[in-house]
């Protein structure tokens, strides 16, 4: 049986990220690491929603409403995207950084 995905609040976007929207997709400049990331439309939506909520379940509900997809699919997408954000080091330690809202 599959373990339900955690709904623990994720850390905010790390400080030092500068973002720009281009045709519904975000580019994020990570100045301290000198890298520029490109997020696809779904990941861009999730990243921008982190300014409003950092609970995966609520992010999934927002994605479901925005993209007209099943909640289960949205939850899976959000978990995968948040994992990618962690791997790219886009999220800061919880409670330390206020983050930089996208846009």
């Amino acid at each position: 049986m599959e373990t339900p995905a955690s709904d623990e609040e994720v850390p905010p976007p790390r400080e030092g990220l500068v973002s720009r929207w281009l045709d519904g997709e975000l580019v994020l400049l990570d100045r301290p690491q000198g890298k520029l990331h490109h997020l696809n439309a779904t990941a861009s939506f999730v990243f921008s929603e982190l300014a409003e909520t950092r609970r995966p379940r609520e992010l999934a509900e927002r994605l479901m409403a925005a993209c007209a997809i099943e909640l289960e699919v949205a939850e899976r997408d959000v978990q995968a995207i948040l994992q990618q954000f962690r791997e790219l080091d886009l999220l800061g330690p919880a409670g330390v950084s206020k983050g930089t809202p996208a846009g």
Binding site: V18, R20, D23, V27, L29, L36
Partner: protein, 287 residues
């Protein structure tokens, strides 16, 4: 020896006066041929913003310069290193003097009056593809550096001697006057098989090259603007010197200029695909 007797090259590049000196004929000749088609001639009495001098030393050359800002240049090297270091110093200084330009590490040829940039990681095949496209008749802007004026998005030629790290495949012989500097081969711009672009031209296309193996079938894929920005940013030299850490300048370029990812393979096949795109056959690129 008078200043003029040691002068290897004197030119104006992006409005910056440049003089390069060498105390022996070998270095002078190499430097002169490397820079012969860069910028426009600098008059005898004209002020030089950038000056460099190569002197024989330890079986090689010692290149020195005293820039207006920053540490003096003083490097001892072989011929390949001399050409590399002279260019590196020139580019750093021109960047400092011309902050209005975004300097992109890219090759470029002209197609339909616009500049087509070939962007790749170092050693990613932009010079050899550029050389192959010159054989197709596309005029030469550069195989190394393209300064782009951030407001107008005009691309400026930097027509130094085309630099290859290895002999090209058979069927693409290098001209007799190619300079062989040990680990690098330099084809002076006046020996290239296509004309040299002498004026600034608008950016027309950006191609990001990704080598997929010599047997791979080349393929073109149109990129979203965000994907293009993420690929272009690492090609910008010193982007943090620009407002918004260079992000705004890069975004402005990709908002106006279409970009493709080019999966490169066999050189001839890749050149055919790219040449077709440059000649206006957009049907070859996947959406």
């Amino acid at each position: 020896m008078s200043a003029s007797a040691t002068e290897a090259a004197a030119f104006s590049f992006l409005g910056c006066g440049v003089r390069v000196h060498g105390d022996d004929p070998h270095a002078r000749s190499a430097l002169a041929r490397n820079f012969a088609s860069v910028g426009s001639p600098l008059g005898d009495g004209a002020r030089a913003d950038i000056e460099m001098t190569a002197r024989t030393a330890d079986g090689g050359w010692r290149l020195s310069a005293e820039p207006a800002a920053g540490a003096p240049l003083d490097v001892t090297c072989d011929l390949a290193g001399l050409l590399f270091t002279a260019e590196k110093h020139l580019i750093l200084e021109v960047q400092r003097l011309r902050p209005s330009h975004l300097f992109l590490h890219a090759a470029a040829v002209e197609a339909a009056g616009t500049a087509c940039l070939l962007v790749a990681a170092s050693g990613g095949g932009k010079s050899i593809l550029c050389w192959r496209l010159l054989q197709e008749g596309f005029p030469y802007l550069s195989d190394e550096l393209v300064p782009v004026e951030t407001g107008s998005r005009l691309a400026h030629p930097y027509a130094h001697a085309l630099c290859l790290k290895a002999e090209p495949p058979s069927g693409l012989p290098l001209p007799a006057g190619t300079m062989r500097a040990g680990r690098t081969l330099h084809v002076p711009a006046d020996l290239l098989p296509a004309p040299v672009v002498r004026r600034s031209v608008p950016l027309g296309k950006i191609l990001f090259l990704e080598f997929a193996g010599s047997g791979a079938v080349p393929a073109l894929e149109r990129l979203s603007r965000a994907a293009a920005a993420a690929r272009l940013y690492p090609a910008a030299l010193n982007p943090l010197a620009h407002p918004g850490d260079g992000l705004d300048a890069v975004v402005a370029v990709v908002e106006a200029v279409p970009a493709w990812r080019v999966r490169t393979g066999d050189l001839d096949a890749t050149a055919r695909e790219v040449a077709a795109l440059l000649r206006g056959d957009d049907s070859r690129s996947a959406a």
